[in-house]
């Protein structure tokens, strides 16, 4: 059942509506609830396919569902419709306005309504897709403050990596932080790249969602076995490679590659001069889990992230 959870009139003959689809099955008593949220950033579209596919599989076999699955495919619909990462007109990152304010501005009001609606879920999954510049292997990012509760849940999600990162004051305005700190366990998934759908990654995560639902007693149908993720934790688990010069980046390495320090990652070239400006090499031994997608780079643009071999807690 599709329901509007927030509605605000726009100036000229239009209403902003945040909608969700509730799929239910089984007995009313003791129903568990999973909420799948995506589109906080309007240029991240991987979650669109996941929402569709979760809903499709459930509707194909509604008899297997024993619980509530709430699907919120577009919490920033104006952003999605205009290929805008933030909230158009405000130039504002929606993931910096939580927990919102019911009596505040349009964006604060929408954020507060979303928080109210999601609160109480047994699990919330907030699906992101990196940005248009970087592509990521499917991963869950967890604030170290919520590690103990969230890591066991994330392990069932069929991702390749769980990255436990340090707390940062700035991140306290995110949807996930706001929900986790008020008792609703929320996993942030990052995968793929902005403005695109990577079907293989989306299918992988969808399989994970059904696996988790099965573990929670919400799905009696078949669910695939899940892969065991790498776990990045500790003081300094990730090595960053940034562009030392501006130019056009040409990749020489692939996602998931196991690299040794000094292995080639890519070239930064100058098409005007026809020269190679920089040969980029892996800064550490480890697994390449982020790689530059958008070719034009400035000095400092992020090129790659490598999970250091010694930092993988699974190893």
């Amino acid at each position: 059942m599709v329901k509007t959870i927030a509605e605000v009139s726009l100036p000229v003959m239009e209403k902003l509506k945040i909608r969700k689809n509730r799929l239910t099955g089984g007995r009313e008593k003791e129903k568990k609830r999973i909420s799948i949220v995506t589109g906080v950033h309007g240029d991240e579209l991987e979650g669109q396919y996941v929402c569709f596919e979760v809903s499709r599989r459930i509707q194909e076999h509604p008899e297997y569902l024993a619980g509530i699955v709430d699907i919120y495919p577009a919490v920033n619909p104006l952003g999605i419709d205009s290929i805008t990462r933030g909230i158009p007109a405000f130039d504002l990152d929606m993931n910096r306005v939580f927990p919102g304010n019911r009596n505040g501005s349009m964006t604060e009001y929408v954020a507060a309504r979303l928080m109210e609606d999601l609160s109480g879920s047994d699990l919330c999954i907030d699906i992101h897709a990196s940005n248009i510049f970087l592509t990521e292997i499917p991963q869950v990012r967890i604030n170290e403050l919520h590690r103990d509760r969230l890591v066991p849940m994330a392990e069932g999600l069929n991702v390749d990596l769980i990255w436990i990162h340090g707390n940062s004051t700035v991140l306290e305005s995110t949807l996930a932080y706001s929900l986790n700190s008020t008792g609703t366990p929320t996993l942030v998934v990052e995968m793929g790249v902005g403005m695109r759908i990577t079907k293989a990654y989306c299918d992988q995560l969808t399989d994970g969602i059904f696996h988790v639902m099965k573990n929670m007693g919400m799905w009696s149908g078949p669910a695939k076995e899940v892969r065991k993720p790498l776990i990045a934790a500790g003081a300094d688990p990730v090595s960053f490679l940034n562009a030392p010069v501006s130019g056009v980046f040409l990749s020489q390495a692939k996602h998931g590659d196991s690299l040794r320090k000094g292995d080639p990652v890519g070239l930064i070239v100058d098409p005007l001069e026809g020269t190679i400006r920089e040969r980029l090499k892996a800064p550490a031994d480890g697994i390449l889990f982020t790689i530059r997608e958008y070719p034009v780079v400035n000095e400092g643009s992020l090129i790659a992230r490598i999970l250091k071999r010694e930092a993988d807690e699974r190893a």
């Binding site: 605000v8 100036p11 700035v170 306290e172 010069v245 005007l272 000095e299 400092g300 643009s301």
Partner: protein, 308 residues
Amino acid sequence: MRTEIIYENHSLYRDSFKIMAYIFGTGKKTVCIVGNMRGNEYQQLYTCSRIVQALKKLEREDRLSDGQEIMVIPSLNPYSMNIEKRFWPIDNTDINRMFPGYSEGETTQRIAGGIFEKIKDYEYGIQFASNYMPGEFMPHVTMMKTGFEDVKSAVEFGMPYVVVRNTRPYDTTTLNYNWQIWETKAYSLYTTTTDRINRESAERGVSSVLHFLESIGCVRYGRRPGYLSRVIDDREMIPVRTEAAGLFEPVVEVEQEVREGDLLARILNPTDAEERSRIYAPGNGILFFRHSGQLTYAHTAVFKLIPV
């Protein structure tokens, strides 16, 4: 006066990105003044350019104090301004959300880090700032409560108001916040406008800065301050929100005194000009902020009043 390129990085096809500072005097690093950090902050750039002009004149007249250095950086972001984009050209990040910066990080982190390294040791830091909401402000100084804020000295600008407000999570990556953490006394100055130059308001901003410089013994300016500032907590302000979205037709100006029940604005249906709602003053006050967009959303704070 001398000029110095305090930060530079190189682009593939554009001229290099340069940040230039005007440096007056030598000796103790006393005051740093910064202008536009976003590409639409024309008023902030303009006000700084007039400060440079005023300081050049004082220098010619030998009215700068010995042993003190004043640095003015009119533009921290010429790249965005040159292409009329508010944030960083390639990734839309905001330099004023990247402090204290990181020299090995992403481009705007490097820019913030490179600048901050040059400006963090000044005793006083003044930034001409802008708000994310489009609108006009009564000229004021804003101070964040960090535990290091020096409200008493902010009064020396002689602006009508000194606004003190609590720190929010995203403030922790701004220049003002990090200046304070690094023990620089930091002030955010707002003149009336941002993306449109208001010369009169800019002149008042210049005058405020010169009063302040005189109060700390940097210059001999010799004019009386404009105002005895009133210090207020931003929670004292009364936001006035719209009930409806539509065309925004204000009937009052910033700095105007209004009485409870006065009409402040009409919201019109954009297609037939029928009135959708009227906005009245909820109390007696001075108009501190007025939304400047042609349209407004519902539930939006289009005015802020300082109660009197």
